[in-house]
Symmetry: C3
Amino acid sequence: MNKKSLLNLTNLEISEIMELINLAKKCEDGDFNNIYNNKIVANLFFEPSTRTQYSFETAELKLGIKPINFNQETSSIKKGESFYDTIKTFESFQTSAIIIRSNIDKYYEQLNGINIPIINAGDGVCDHPSQSLLDLYTIYKHFKTFNGIKIAIVGDIKHSRVAHTNIDIMNRLGMETYISGPEIFNDHTSKYIDFDQAITEMDVIMLLRIQHERHQFKEITNINEYHEKFGLDMKRVNKMKRNSIIMHPAPFNRGVEISDDVVECEKSKIFQQIENGVFIRMAILYKALEKEVKQW
Amino acid sequence: MNKKSLLNLTNLEISEIMELINLAKKCEDGDFNNIYNNKIVANLFFEPSTRTQYSFETAELKLGIKPINFNQETSSIKKGESFYDTIKTFESFQTSAIIIRSNIDKYYEQLNGINIPIINAGDGVCDHPSQSLLDLYTIYKHFKTFNGIKIAIVGDIKHSRVAHTNIDIMNRLGMETYISGPEIFNDHTSKYIDFDQAITEMDVIMLLRIQHERHQFKEITNINEYHEKFGLDMKRVNKMKRNSIIMHPAPFNRGVEISDDVVECEKSKIFQQIENGVFIRMAILYKALEKEVKQW
Amino acid sequence: MNKKSLLNLTNLEISEIMELINLAKKCEDGDFNNIYNNKIVANLFFEPSTRTQYSFETAELKLGIKPINFNQETSSIKKGESFYDTIKTFESFQTSAIIIRSNIDKYYEQLNGINIPIINAGDGVCDHPSQSLLDLYTIYKHFKTFNGIKIAIVGDIKHSRVAHTNIDIMNRLGMETYISGPEIFNDHTSKYIDFDQAITEMDVIMLLRIQHERHQFKEITNINEYHEKFGLDMKRVNKMKRNSIIMHPAPFNRGVEISDDVVECEKSKIFQQIENGVFIRMAILYKALEKEVKQW
């Protein structure tokens, strides 16, 4: 496994997180546009994705990197080729890095034989480091600090790779993290807080997507009930603290965890998160390819 | 909605049409190759397409634009993300423009919240402005004028977004427009002319694709009968006026509305239309991105 | 048909093969990086592919060519557009060459009306010239000659486009070719050799993928039996000649025609073949576009 791989945030030092955030700022300022001219990076998404997939591609294009977008539906996966052999093939093409999303938990444990950087774009229910980093970048841009910032993550914590990665890294960065939403989703990875209390006390309300198509969800509640109890509508937004913000990794369900008119309200950072996602992914790629002097 | 969007031709002045045609000539001459180096444009095709999709991509590449090609099958659309939120995501990536084809009539009425140029690559049964413009460019290249040029559009006028856009703009440009083909498809948007009379009198015979897989078509007629009555074969081609031309937006059905040997005959401009489509789409993109000074 | 098309190896002179091999070396050395800046090449894969598809794309990117990747699932093929008309459309876009893989034997016989170079990336059970050329390049890099090199191709010779192309060209280049594996697959296109005899006598053991999902295969044998009789495991590898090598066009079935631990063993050139595939495809594209002076 290449040392420049980004698999999760667990082994990243706080100083490394801050370096990525500072690099993202430089990326946003255009300092690194086209610096990696002529490098090739392969994007292998084995799960549906809009934001992560296309913002990695956008980040690559802005850095001057030439993307190759793998489509498993028209690949030799259809002839039974394995995950490892597929990744090894792209390594053999001498691509500079590989971006991978897979529904396999810790898929990268199968990839010890791969010697180029692997960037984890989401693995099963485990990690989604680039999402966490863009969340951090968004929070840092707004509050200029992490210290003492209070966040409640609301919704299906149990099945969210975003929530787990975020709670861990945010605690390490000195933020106060809480979880809220239906008790059934509470996995006790952080302190629980009542939703309406969170509304008035938090600096950040981070909503998660309710997978209301899931069987388990249908058993315990319904959409209207959820919206009533845990949905963020303008009535609740108006009770939020003055400088507080709303976040959501998206895709979101309008009318379920978030009201239609909240999505683009003043406090909402949802589309800024998407915008920031491009810059943080440029920063991640910058680090992964840094000092890679071999030219083709 | 960004003012530089191209949604239909209804609001375009004749002078603006002529400007696009002149720009297409410059594009064909290579004057604008690579001028938009480093800009990113997203192509979102929600309906199957070969010509429109890949000629927009070709046009982008020739202008130096970097395309991002959205594939709805591997996107968050699969998780229920809405059309608007998908488009808003690409706007958040700071792409310079978005090309959209959708089967939703006037889909762009849902996109008032989008602030970057939207280029309509076909919406439901309503409009297909870039197709009309390439038809106009093809006619103008051949006749050097629109004034008094007689065209008959033949086939399923009723369900054709090309026909409606063309009839309107061609009339405004001083052309004489007729419709022909089975009476059942006559929606009286222009004067009806008998097909064999059209053959001898028109400057342009524009055939439309017969969707012979449609249930309604099977009820009223069959393929052989259609070909007999309204199919363009060499016998009919030989009766056409000396300087007249044959057009078809494609895909076409060989042996239904057009004989095999007519497709690439001397009078046929079908593949030139496809070629011209690249240049007119370069012109459209040139206009959409013009004076956009923000660089990344 | 354009003279610069590469359809099969039958009509290539030995000198032309050697020229391609020498060009591949230059490509590997980076001599041709970005020389075809701004040219567009279309990749049309009508069959699943990982190696061939993405290594052609990688080769294009390295040469500076801008690829357009056709996806038949979202194309007008879905509306019934023909193979010829689809290819003709890409020619009309003025792409510099077209790469085609299709399950139709000798599909290129339908393409006489196409005037730009066609590069055959595999047609039905007939030919796969770029695969053969990368095999040759791999052999030549290792042995520095073809003369007298002994190769056994092992497996389903009958249904392999790789085997037939290879046997013919390797014989012409002075190699000694043998076929091995189950008698049922022996089509007598070369001398048959017992597998365990081949192991000890050959310079190259080239394994083919066993399509064990095929009905016919299930009838005659099973996976374990095949692996026992014709599978390459480390016990057999240890009996191979000192300077001998193992090849496989991939995808391979670990545990069927090849043991897990053989795939990346010292003698295995499997991933080098993939790496060499990029360089030989660069060489093929270099030749196809050479002296094409028309710029856009």
